[in-house]
């Protein structure tokens, strides 16, 4: 498969890296030679210097032979323009544009119908949703939706007090009782392990599990994270995400404060928002934080565009007594570091964007995907009528190494499968795969019955 990526920013970089690691042919186009050089040093892809919305450059990139165009620059207009030209040059191509402006998103259906552009809805919506999840399940450091929110994939650190520490997975059922949760992956020393029954959960692991939406609260309270009273929330940074978040949180029984450095922006924010208290001040200023009784806050959410100051504000707030800090981080390279300095709750708009791109990239009826540490991916797939998977017990399907079927959704029920269960047409199932096995999984999912 050949993919052309326009824009070698953070999003483009990580999408390219993941596609290249799956042995796909990738061409990256950008106008800045320095970022292209960085890409060349890190992955086996082809780069092209030039404007992604120039039809000449697209032709040079071999758009006629490509299967997919991903326009992921920071500019909505360039992305749309590139897709429009791509549509003229190669009408059959899958085209995805990363869009952030709400006004364009309103026309997503038109764009898709008229010129076949798939829209990657701005990640900000996803980020706000993730933060809300984190507030409701504070033990989760990472939480994402699958199956339209019915199923959750959540990651939690195993501490000393955690009842699961030292349990082998085959004994898990006895411990958790009738709480329906399935361990999907264990992250140990930054390496993702797809577990088998003999694997043991150890202290210091980051365990990812899948459960139904309604089970999330009971599971977390079982794991020792009682939903403490989260009534006072301070948001720092009144940008696009900060505003959305405040708007959504003020509808709940919460006291929300929103702080921004820029006085003019504060005026706009105060106009847009209702119950939220808008403050003008610098989130990295200790006195400004103390003035607002930072110690009495339950949660601080740092959402400015500057990640260094986000980290600083979060650390400062934690030091001053705030129990929970949610930090926005864009540089994906920082992520392994922040845990070391005590920040556990991280949200990343770019990572969300990468995830939402990948659900379009995946073949074989994949509806959504969530990446775990860049090394594995949980995919939700719809089984079509003529799929070769239909009618066979799972144990006979010969899934490749490092692949696990986590659950099957049939009509209204969620099944935790055993080897004897059979997949039926119309089922949706969630499958976890290590990155290196993804091409095989895609092949299995898109294989049609009778033509194996």
């Amino acid at each position: 498969m050949k993919a052309i990526i326009i824009g070698a920013g953070e999003v483009g970089f990580y999408v390219a890296q993941r596609l290249a690691s799956e042995q796909k042919d990738v061409v990256v186009i950008d106008r800045n030679p320095a970022v292209l050089q960085r890409i060349l040093d890190h992955m086996d892809v082809q780069v092209l210097e030039g404007s992604g919305c120039s039809p000449l450059v697209l032709g040079e990139a071999g758009i006629q032979k490509a299967n997919m165009l991903l326009a992921v620059t920071d500019s909505d207009e360039i992305n749309l323009m590139a897709c429009t030209f791509a549509n003229m040059l190669a009408p059959g191509l899958t085209k995805l544009a990363r869009i952030r402006n709400d006004e364009y998103i309103a026309y997503a259906e038109h764009l898709s119908r008229e010129i076949g552009i798939g829209i990657i809805v701005n990640p900000e919506v996803e980020v706000v949703r993730t933060i809300e999840h984190m507030l409701s399940a504070p033990g989760a450091v990472d939480i994402s939706d699958l199956a339209g929110g019915r199923i959750k994939l959540a990651g939690t650190w195993i501490t000393e007090a955690n009842p699961l520490a030292g349990t082998r997975l085959m004994d898990l059922r006895g411990k958790v009782g009738d709480r329906r949760m399935i361990v999907a992956a264990i992250v140990r020393n930054d390496k993702v392990i797809v577990p088998s029954g003999a694997d043991e959960i150890r202290r210091g692991d980051l365990v990812y599990f899948v459960c139904e939406d309604t089970e999330l609260q009971p599971v977390f309270s079982f794991l020792g994270n009682r939903p403490g009273r989260k009534s006072n929330v301070l948001i720092i940074g009144g940008g696009n995400i900060g505003l959305r978040l405040a708007r959504s949180l003020e509808k709940k029984p919460l006291h929300v404060k929103l702080m921004d450095k820029n006085p003019e922006r504060c005026t706009i924010l105060a106009n847009e928002l209702g119950r939220t208290v808008v403050l003008n001040g610098d989130g990295t200023d200790q006195e400004a934080l103390q003035e607002e009784n930072i110690g009495q806050m339950d949660v601080i959410v740092t959402m400015t565009g500057n990640e260094e100051s986000n980290i600083l504000s979060s650390l400062l707030a934690k030091k001053l007594g705030t129990p929970m800090a949610i930090t926005r981080l864009n540089k994906i390279a920082y992520m392994p570091l922040v845990r070391a300095i005590g920040l556990e709750h991280i949200v990343s708009p770019r990572m969300s964007a990468v995830n939402s791109i990948f659900k379009h990239v995946r073949k074989g009826g994949v509806l959504s995907t969530v990446a775990i540490k860049d090394q594995a991916e949980a995919m939700e797939a719809l089984v079509s009528q003529d799929s070769s998977l239909v009618g066979q017990p799972l144990k006979d399907l010969n899934f490749p190494m490092g692949v696990l079927v986590l659950c099957i959704m049939r009509q209204d029920s969620v099944l935790i499968p055993s080897g004897n269960d059979v997949i039926l047409s119309g089922d949706r199932f969630i499958i976890l795969s290590l990155t290196e096995s993804i091409p095989d999984v895609e092949r299995m999912l898109s294989r049609v019955r009778g033509r194996s």
Binding site: K2, D25, V26, P33, D41, H42, M43, D44, Q46, V47
Partner: protein, 481 residues
């Protein structure tokens, strides 16, 4: 610097080269000419050495090679291949180890300088190995390894950059493995076509294949004592001339030809420059040699074109002794040795692209003296050349000149006369082969002092790997942690 990776990959490359020795071995078995024993022994030793290195130095998985390790690996691989490639010659009765290594490195670097005075006395198996070293080194032993082995992914690009000639190494395909494979496919195809054309010209299969290897790699080892002159055929001369010029052009452009863009060669400014230089110099030499050396215009043109093509593409085949020609023609050929072929070709020398940019840059400096406020950019075709590329080219040129002068002086210190010394150094750094004076087209390098052969061997490696890759290893900063 992780030495285990460097040695592991070197072992791997050595293993590939060792396996390639099976081809001359087959040839030796076919002709039953006494080259079987040395070739078989060399094959075993090389393969075992490669396997030994691979076994004792494990690579991490996934294999990621950084810029610095890339250069060390390439330099190390070329040096070890040069030494192990000399084994068949050592065992096959070459006068000394020095001579055998000189011959082997001359082969791999596609220089084509030989120490042999009676080539035809060598068994056919060894002759075939000589030509095969050209062919492997021409497109690059490392490019070949990348094409065959899948796991050199990201690291492959670092190795590729360090081996491929020219200031910029472009990927033709999204993946480095496919890029390397594409280059080799084009290379194999051209070699096959040329072999067939030479066969129709009356050569036997062995000679045809060996000469095609020598031509496409722009090497210059022949199987005859008098080189291509032995055939005395205008048809063969022209076929080889054309294919030498083809091999001196950028292979990325040849690939465009197969993609259905036949005009790519013509549109490329470097290629046009290359052809223009060949045209002009051939014209001048034809005029000078007509009457004085050759009675007819057609003969003058045939011999002039062949020598010019042979020297500028740094091949080094000969059909005439240009030392008998007028002094100006020799001067022009010396100029050709410096210029060399195009970037991304198998040719050596400074490369046309660098020469063009150097001229442009010099002109820009003059222009600035006239218009001190002018903003002038150096362009290559339509494209702006970034200052870092320009600086790297300037650095390359300065190093080329310094190395030329120092190595030349070193040779004169060993008692070699000035003309021989300096022309031998250009011929070796430029991977040309024949020079002037005692190393002219009808002479060989056998008579030079042994130490000077090592200096020239080093020059050949420097030239093939474009100076930087080798020279950077001699900077203390490179080894600092």
């Amino acid at each position: 610097m992780r030495w285990n990776i460097a040695w592991h990959v070197t072992g791997l490359i050595l293993l590939c080269v060792g396996l390639c020795m099976s081809l001359p071995l087959l040839c030796g078995v076919y002709y039953a000419d006494g080259s079987v024993a040395p070739l078989f022994l060399s094959l075993c030793v090389t393969v075992l050495a490669g396997a030994f290195l691979m076994f004792f130095f494990r690579r991490p998985n996934p294999l990621v090679i950084n810029h610095r390790e890339g250069m060390v690996i390439v330099a190390l691989a070329w040096a070890t291949c040069g030494v192990f490639g000399a084994l068949p010659f050592v065992l096959g009765g070459f006068p000394s180890f020095t001579d055998a290594v000189f011959e082997s490195v001359s082969g791999f670097t596609t220089t084509g300088a030989s120490i042999l005075s009676n080539i035809e006395a060598l068994p056919k198996g060894l002759l075939f190995w000589r030509s095969l070293t050209h062919w492997l080194g021409g497109m690059g032993i490392i490019v070949l390894t990348i094409a065959i082995l899948p796991f050199l992914g990201v690291g492959g690009m670092q190795l590729f950059k360090a081996e491929v000639p020219g200031p910029v190494a472009d990927k033709l395909q999204p993946r480095i493995k496919d890029t390397a494979m594409t280059l080799w496919k084009v290379y194999v195809l051209f070699t096959a076509v040329q072999t067939i054309l030479l066969l129709t010209g009356g050569m036997d299969f062995f000679d045809g294949l060996c000469h095609a290897f020598g031509t496409m790699a722009t090497g210059g080892f022949s199987t005859r004592n008098t080189s291509v002159a032995a055939y005395d055929s205008a048809y063969i001369d022209y076929v080889i001339s054309v294919f030498m010029i083809v091999a001196g052009m950028n292979f990325a452009l040849h690939f465009q030809l197969f993609r259905g863009r036949p005009l790519a060669l013509w549109r490329d400014p470097e290629c046009r420059f290359f052809v223009a230089v060949i045209g002009v110099i051939t014209g001048v030499i034809t005029v000078y040699t007509h009457g004085a050396n050759y009675s007819s215009w057609s003969e003058a043109l045939r011999f002039s074109l062949f020598q010019v093509a042979s020297i500028i593409t740094t091949t080094g085949f000969a059909t005439a002794d240009y030392e008998l020609w007028a002094p100006l023609t020799q001067g022009l050929l010396l100029l050709c040795m410096f210029v060399g072929g195009c970037a991304g070709s198998t040719a050596g020398g400074i490369k046309c692209m660098r020469v063009m940019l150097l001229i442009n840059h010099a002109y820009r400096e003059l222009f600035r003296l006239v218009h001190p406020r002018a903003v002038v950019q150096v362009k290559f075709g339509q494209k702006l050349v970034r200052d870092e590329v320009l600086n790297s080219i300037l650095g390359f040129f300065i190093l080329f000149v310094i190395l030329f002068v120092l190595s030349g002086l070193a040779l004169t210190a060993m008692g070699v006369d000035v003309l021989t010394a300096f022309s031998a150094v250009v011929a070796c750094i430029g991977n040309v082969g024949p020079g002037l004076g005692e190393v002219g087209p009808v002479d060989n390098y056998g008579g030079l002092p042994w130490l000077s052969k090592w200096v020239l061997t080093f020059c050949m490696l420097l030239g093939r790997l474009e100076i930087y890759t080798i020279l950077v290893l001699f900077i203390p900063e490179f080894w600092r942690k």
